[in-house]
Amino acid sequence: MRKKTVFMVCFLLALTLFTTGCGKEKADLESKGTETIIKDSLVFGMPAEVQTLDPAKIYSFRAWSVFNQIYEPLIKSCSDGTLEPGLAESWDISDDGTEVVFHLRQGVKFHNGETMTADDVAFSLNRAIESPNLTSINSAMDKAEIIDDGTVKLTLKYPFSAIESCVGHANMSIVNKKAVEDDPEKFERNPVGTGPYYLADWKTGDKYVFESFKDYWKGEAEIKHLTFKIVLDGNTAIIALENGEIDILDAPPASERNRLVNNNDIQYHETEMSGSFYIAINNQRSPLSDPKVRRAISYGIDKEAMMIAASDGVGAILDCFPAKAAFGYPDDVKGNPHDPEKAKQLLTESGYPDGFDISIITDTDPKYYKPSEVLQDSLKKIGINAELDVVDLNQTLIRVRQERDFELHIDGTSAPYLDCNYIYGFFHGDQIGKGQNYFGCDNKELNDLLDRGRVSQDSEERKTIYKRVCEIINEEAIAIPIYSGMQAVAATKDLKGVQPNPMARYYIYDYSW
């Protein structure tokens, strides 16, 4: 019996040693002599696969990070948010703001050896304009026409101040007309663009292999062999980064932030996401139709606690609804502070001294579910009895976005382009029932402001307009902004040129070892 006990203790001890580790440190394993050969390959870790590489067919962060290597739009949106000429050398916007004429760069080659023509450009733009997947960026565009060999005209449905940002979107990239027309389905897995890399191999679920394009118009890339490796598990991805199996990792899990920041072999960059998480309120349903009740809720909530619950506290509290990076975001408008006493007072004034019953619809994704629990708790403290209505993601979308059968819901959105105009669809009365304005908000002053903001060409005027827009949203508590997440990127120390970007604009062409 005693022998057995001694043995068991030893066994468990051995197991503990194995899992906690007290072996040789890795330091001496790395000194394999000085490497003089310059590395010319790069492995980029991405957290999900992109199912199609046709820019007109998919609107997603992950897709953009791949598109930016294969394709280019007419206007390039740089990592720091500025715009510079891309496949168009220059462009003119007509005085009334409804036409944009692009002067194309000459001699640009596609990966299949063809030279880019005005026909390719007009074809690509029209394809994107007709795509149902790209409504958040193509809604202002009407059609593209060829003027001559080197010029293409884009006509708009109405003057649109953010048109350059939209044209500079990765989804508006120029594709090879012949390759698409030959076999549109094949094109999804065999893209032909003008970018610095071409797709050499795609192992479904595993990786995309790219090679540098020798005839790239800016000159061949310094990093010749590029692999986009799909690693679904965040923890595994971090280990792969630490042991050098991948060189750069897009969107590492927020919970591992400290581990990466404290690792001297890793560079970690982050920037605020160009989007917001917010509490969506059904403005048409009693008692939420009373602005005072909505304001009471906005004073009653604890944004900080919600952010901690949702993202381990990685993020920035938002005062206004639009993304901070968007043009027109007012720095001097403050959100309603956390003040439960004031909230109770507002509820009493609106005739609900004892509160009321309400439901919060959410799916099970912790990003939404956890802050919903915090919201429920905060509301309880001001006397509102909130019930969590947990359904699956698809059902949430249908109930909230389509049927508008909800009361409170925590939601998130990201700016399709960096201009406050993108919130038009969420708050303009005309947009009720069209997908985005599911709050059911129809405020005359707000409608006028949004209309003016969309067409005005005067940037100072537009800033004033969006400042007022944000004030109204907060005063009326149409929707309550909570926080914006962080877009992070981690890479091995030696990689140069890495920049975080709110819209996954990683240009590997600009990187070097």
């Binding site: 389905e185 595994t236 042991n243 979308l397 997908g435």
Partner: protein, 309 residues
């Protein structure tokens, strides 16, 4: 025997029909909208309606089922709702990886599990027996994803012996196979041990010993062979659980298998992809069961004679 095999294969057809109908019904009747899953939450109602029409989602579900099955019998499993690529290509580019992983795990289980079980039974209550029994208890209790991460931390990050992600070489399969096979290995060890111990008590073993048969002969020829039937059954059953366990292991080790694909497909209400994956699963499990039955016949003459061959 051949007739029996053909009969068994034919018997799979009603099973497949039944399962396909159940899955199709569940996918159709559960709330959710594939069009919404594709276009995203900001989509306009017109775009959604257009896409639903385009994908034939507005038709009655029985009609859709009939159409689906007719095409499936012709080998056309449709276009995935979420990826818009042919389902057949999608599924078959991933299934080999999952099968390879499960197969290697089975080998790992058998090569380690049966000998350990035999040794444990032969050296009952010895130190080796205690080690293997405690080890088996631990392995069944450890969650797969945790074991996987620990292996990666130690073997990959600390000692840099094995790659953490991918499927590029045979080295990539070592840790996933250990992770996947661990729990079932433990079961196999216990089953082997208990069956061996049971058979050892039988009269014919005593007779064999009395007649002067060598120790090895008694263990392998007389005991193990008779203990094999439940062991083979266990291995067959394990294959099913390995296929489903692969879902977690694949995502931990970044392997492009079928597990993660099914999860995403279910979330996106991607009926064609779910159907093809489940049907394939069914066929595989059916075939494994058949193989197990054939192995029975090979091992046990009594079973063989009952097939009439």
């Amino acid at each position: 025997m051949t007739r029996y095999i053909i009969k068994r294969i034919l018997a799979m057809i009603p099973v497949l029909l039944g399962i396909s109908f159940v899955i199709f019904t569940i996918m159709s009747l559960t709330p959710g909208d594939p069009a919404l899953a594709i276009l995203g939450k900001d989509a306009t109602p017109e775009a959604l309606e257009l896409l639903r029409e385009d994908m034939g989602l507005n038709e009655h579900f029985l009609l859709r089922y009939a159409k689906y099955m007719t095409n499936a019998f012709r080998g056309d499993f449709g276009i995935s709702y979420s990826t818009r690529t042919p389902v057949f290509d999608e599924v078959f580019s991933r299934y080999p990886n999952t099968l390879k992983l499960s197969f290697f795990s089975i080998i790992f289980m058998v090569v380690l599990g049966i000998p350990i079980g035999i040794v444990s039974a032969v050296k009952k209550y010895s130190l080796i027996d205690s080690i293997s029994m405690i080890g088996a208890l631990l392995l069944t209790s450890i969650p797969g994803f945790w074991l996987g991460l620990m292996l990666i931390l130690q073997l990959s990050l600390k000692y840099r012996l094995l790659p953490a992600i991918g499927i590029d070489s045979w080295k990539n399969y070592i840790m996933p196979c250990i992770t996947l096979g661990a729990a079932d290995l433990a079961i196999l060890v216990r089953i082997t041990r208990s069956n061996m111990l049971e058979i050892v008590r039988q009269d014919y073993i005593r007779t064999a010993r009395a007649k002067g048969a060598g120790k090895m002969r008694v263990i392998f020829k007389h005991t193990l062979r008779n203990a094999m039937l439940p062991i083979v059954t266990t291995i067959g059953l394990c294959f099913g659980s390995l296929l489903s366990g692969a879902i977690i292991v694949e995502s931990v080790f970044g392997m492009p298998g079928v597990g993660t694909m099914i999860i995403n497909a279910i979330r996106a209400k991607d009926t064609p992809l779910v159907m093809a994956s489940v049907l394939f699963f069914t066929i595989i499990i059916g075939l494994i069961n058949l193989i197990v039955d054939i192995i029975y016949a090979i091992i046990d003459p009594r079973v063989r004679s009952s097939y009439g061959g």
